[in-house]
């Protein structure tokens, strides 16, 4: 008895020790071996990690397998899980084991984890032609090599945007209708309208109270609170600073007179009860709940952040509670730039290939093939006959069922594969007839509009959401620095400017809500300004200014730095 017990215990330990040694799989890319052993065409499998949140696709995803069949390669994409982007990348760097593809970050470059791509580019025409010479050159790192392929912002022929996905003052159509579609240009006009409407219609049909103006100030979404001053002054979304197009000077939009006026206005409106009284304690989910209920008349937001809430409004048949964008400025008669069609000339970041990749050429071939016209359509529209139909005029269209599938998470995970973080076009499909994506297809777009929205757009002489705003085209040659956020997003706390940028962000997040709810605005504003200036914003602005000059130099080839 005793012996048997000991024996069992020993066995368990022995087995444990054994397995510890052999459970090792030292080559995660073993699947990638390019030996063609079988008779069947072998499909290369790549791995990718993107430091963003995203949805993992199911195995045997229909479109992914179809693409794999056509081009002989597929890629398993993984996304951020329960870590911050910085932690995840740091972890990978520490381990020295990378997936084949990764989103470019400065840390990865510094760690020597990335493969230089410039020598390969000529062999892959689709990649080579994806950006022009100037754009490629702007990607060169200090060592003169190119390490990344930017995925976004390549406009094929012309932009087809129907919906302004970016930031604007979004207002429910019912408010405009109630006032007989007035022209609303300025902040004061907007809040007057909201106040009047609220006084006349304080509750929803179900008795819940209306929220005239909502501000999302949670976590990184606090841009909804802090960045309107740049728009109010009529500047496009550089995201972190204003750049004066004539003098190339970087201006801090946090300290402009407009910023003060804007927050003073918010402060007044908050005291009047026009702004949601609990905006500063609300998280992102709670915000979406409020918007979904149709109670929020107006807000500043990026459209992509609340489109699920808008879907919820539609399912409740609250058709007069969906939103149209308004281009609000601080004074009347200004040109606003909420919407800007732009293909950047100075590029940063993008898709990189790591040193762990056993088959760099195969990986680039894969990226190259993904840009093939047929594959591009598969990625953005899906499979013909299943996900979209082709009319007699050659235009793609979808039935309602197909539209529902396209937004159903379950369906998407098993059927669609956009390879969204691999290079992709916006604008026109390569066939020159259709839009690149279903949501920018004009005919598709009109089908989906409710009568209320159509009426509203028509009243303002617009056919799309984009036409509700001023149309701006930013020429990448003339304003090569745009957008500056592509630089500030990649700042790390290792430089003085990056450190200042982080501190500024923390300070704004802490103080701005207090400024809005303060009893004494001036006192609170001064306190905020003191704290803000203590972050040394000048360090940040200096680095941004230098980058503006760099980009001008890269693209226009001239040095515009003021003479010392």
């Amino acid at each position: 008895m005793k012996k048997r017990f000991i024996a069992v215990l020993m066995c368990v330990m022995l087995v444990t020790a054994l397995f510890a040694g052999c459970g090792k799989n030292d080559d995660k890319n073993s699947k990638n071996s390019t030996e063609t052993g079988g008779a069947a065409k072998e499909i290369k499998e790549f791995t990718a990690f993107f430091d963003r949140q995203g949805t993992e696709l199911n195995k045997n995803n229909v479109v992914q397998d179809l693409i794999a069949e056509k081009i002989g390669a597929k890629c398993k994409e993984t996304w951020l899980t329960g870590q911050t982007a910085e932690e995840a990348v740091g972890m990978l760097i520490a381990s020295g084991e990378y997936p084949d593809f990764i989103n470019y970050t400065q840390q990865l470059y510094d760690a020597g984890a990335l493969v230089a791509l410039d020598d390969y580019l000529d062999k892959y025409p689709n990649i080579k032609n994806f950006w022009n010479e100037i754009q490629w050159n702007s990607l060169r790192q200090p060592d003169g090599h190119i390490y990344s392929i930017p995925q976004f912002g390549k406009i094929n022929e012309k932009l087809m945007d129907t919906q302004n996905n970016g930031e604007a003052f979004w207002i429910q159509t019912r408010v405009l209708k109630w006032a007989n579609y007035p022209k609303i240009e300025t902040l004061d006009e907007l809040f007057k309208l909201l106040g009047d409407y609220y006084a006349a219609n304080p509750t929803m049909a179900d008795g819940s109270s209306v929220i005239p103006f909502e501000i999302l100030a949670y976590d990184w979404y606090y841009f909804c609170l802090e960045n309107p001053p740049q728009f109010l002054d009529g500047h496009p979304n550089n995201g972190s600073v204003i750049v004066d197009p004539s003098t190339f000077e970087v201006i801090d939009y946090n300290t402009t007179p407009t910023a003060k006026r804007y927050f003073q206005k918010l402060n007044e409106e908050y005291k009047k009860g026009i702004i949601d009284q609990e905006f500063m304690t609300m998280n992102h989910d709670q915000f979406l709940e409020k918007v979904s209920s149709g109670r929020v008349l107006c807000m500043v937001e990026q459209h992509w952040d609340f489109n699920t809430a808008e879907e919820a409004i539609k399912t409740q048949k609250l058709n007069d509670c969906t939103y149209v964008p308004l281009g609000i400025t601080i004074d009347p008669g200004m040109q606003e730039q909420y919407y800007a069609a732009n293909e950047a000339m100075a590029l940063t970041g993008g898709l990189s290939i790591t040193t762990s990749c056993k088959d760099v050429e195969g990986a680039l071939q894969f990226v190259n093939d993904l840009l093939d016209p047929e594959i591009v359509t598969l990625r953005s529209w899906g499979i013909e006959g299943t996900d979209y139909l082709v009319g007699d005029d050659g235009l793609y269209y979808r039935t309602q069922e197909m539209r529902d599938n396209a937004v159903n998470a379950d369906y998407k995970a098993s059927n669609l594969s956009a390879y969204g973080y691999f290079p992709n076009f916006s604008g026109m499909n390569p066939d020159g007839k259709n839009a690149m994506t279903p949501d920018t297809q004009p005919s598709e777009f009109f089908e989906g509009l409710s009568a209320e929205v159509q009426e509203c757009l028509t009243a303002y002489g617009a056919k799309t959401y984009v036409e509700m705003l001023d149309y701006n085209k930013i020429d990448g040659m003339e304003q090569p620095w745009y957008p500056m956020w592509s630089f500030s997003n990649n700042l790390t706390t290792e430089t003085p400017g990056g450190l200042a940028w982080t501190k500024m962000g923390d300070t704004k997040q802490e103080y701005l809500p207090q400024v809005v709810i303060a009893g004494d605005f001036d006192e609170s504003w001064n306190k905020y300004m003191d704290a803000y200036n203590a972050c040394k914003p000048e360090d940040f602005l200096k680095e941004m200014q230098e980058e503006v000059y760099n980009r001008i130099e890269k693209v226009q080839g001239k040095d515009v730095r003021p003479a010392k």
């Binding site: 397995f19 510890a20 799989n25 995660k28 990690f49 982007a85 972890m91």
Partner: protein, 305 residues
């Protein structure tokens, strides 16, 4: 006469006092139960509610629009099946191995005649307060060849100092005379361990086993660190974690204004709720079976020398 009256009054007062005490304690406990049970009921309600409808919020105890779709969505993922299998495996294997190893060590360091018992205990306790941190731990496991293997779930965390202390303390509390008399009858250490200590330690073993099992069941971080790319070694909790953190972001930038391909969609609160319920169900089901052992409770202090 008077004396008995006083006695009676005392008794009566004592009863009233008792009633008040019981009442207050009962009230506090009831509130506590409500506070702990409401989130679970609420999650259940949301998980059975239509996904888009849940966005409106305001669901408390009962679903508004009954549906099973959310559960279908979760169970549709093949990775969930693999995850379930690996989760069960690691929980069973991990619990058995960790408990037996920990119990053996505890037995050794709880013997009075083992001269190194103290210093060894101290060494173990130190690991509770001082550790290398994430990156060194990761590098260690990597160089030991644990990455991309199932054993990374089991071996590195084989002995938890806390559990060791719990068991050791319990063993210390057993009378020494038991061991001595067994020795007299000619039993060796293994026989003592098996025939005397183990049966007596059942309550503490059950408690620790539950700790380990819950820990193993809920672990997802190690999966992410060591087996991120290994689909066949994923666990249920990691799959859930992925579901929870897959939030729609075109490219995560506050400034991007153009869609990246087809934009992804938020995993709705309802789907998250369904996944949450599914993953915590098995471990919740374990509790009633181990409940009776908890009566003995956990004691960590009061080390007898």
């Amino acid at each position: 006469m008077g004396a008995s009256k006083v006695m009676y009054q005392k008794k009566k007062r004592f009863q009233i006092k008792n009633l008040i005490y019981t009442g207050i304690i009962g009230l506090i406990l009831t509130i506590f139960v409500i506070v702990t049970i409401y989130p679970i009921i609420n999650t259940l309600a949301i998980s059975f509610n239509d996904a888009i409808d849940s966005l409106r919020g305001g669901i408390h105890l009962l679903p508004r629009k009954w549906t099973l779709e959310n559960y279908k969505t979760v169970l549709h993922k093949e990775s969930m099946v693999t995850g379930l299998y690996i989760s069960v495996l690691r929980t069973v294997v991990g619990t058995v191995l960790q408990l037996s190893v920990t119990a053996l060590i505890a037995f050794v360091i709880s013997r009075k005649n083992f001269i190194f018992a103290k210093p060894i205990s101290v060494l173990y306790v130190m690991t509770m307060y001082i550790n290398g941190g994430l990156i060194p731990g990761f590098l260690l496991n990597k160089s030991l060849g644990f990455t991309n293997s199932f054993w990374v779930y089991i071996i590195p965390g084989m002995v938890s100092a806390f559990n060791l202390l719990v068991i050791r303390t319990y063993m210390n509390g057993l009378p020494d005379s038991l061991e001595e008399s067994a020795m007299m009858d000619g039993a060796g250490y293994f026989t003592i361990f098996r025939k005397i200590i183990v049966p007596l330690c059942m309550p503490v073993f059950a408690t620790v086993a539950l700790f380990i099992a819950v820990g193993q069941w809920n672990a997802w971080f190690d999966v992410m660190l060591y087996n991120r790319m290994n689909e066949n070694l994923t666990t249920l909790q990691y799959e859930l974690m992925k579901l929870l953190s897959s939030v729609s972001q075109l490219s995560g930038d506050a400034n991007t204004s153009r869609v990246a391909g087809t934009s992804t969609q938020v995993t709705t609160t309802s789907v998250r709720a369904a996944a949450t319920i599914l993953t915590c169900l098995p471990i919740v089901a374990l509790y009633p079976f181990l409940q009776r052992y908890f009566v003995t409770g956990l004691t960590i202090g009061g080390v007898k020398e």
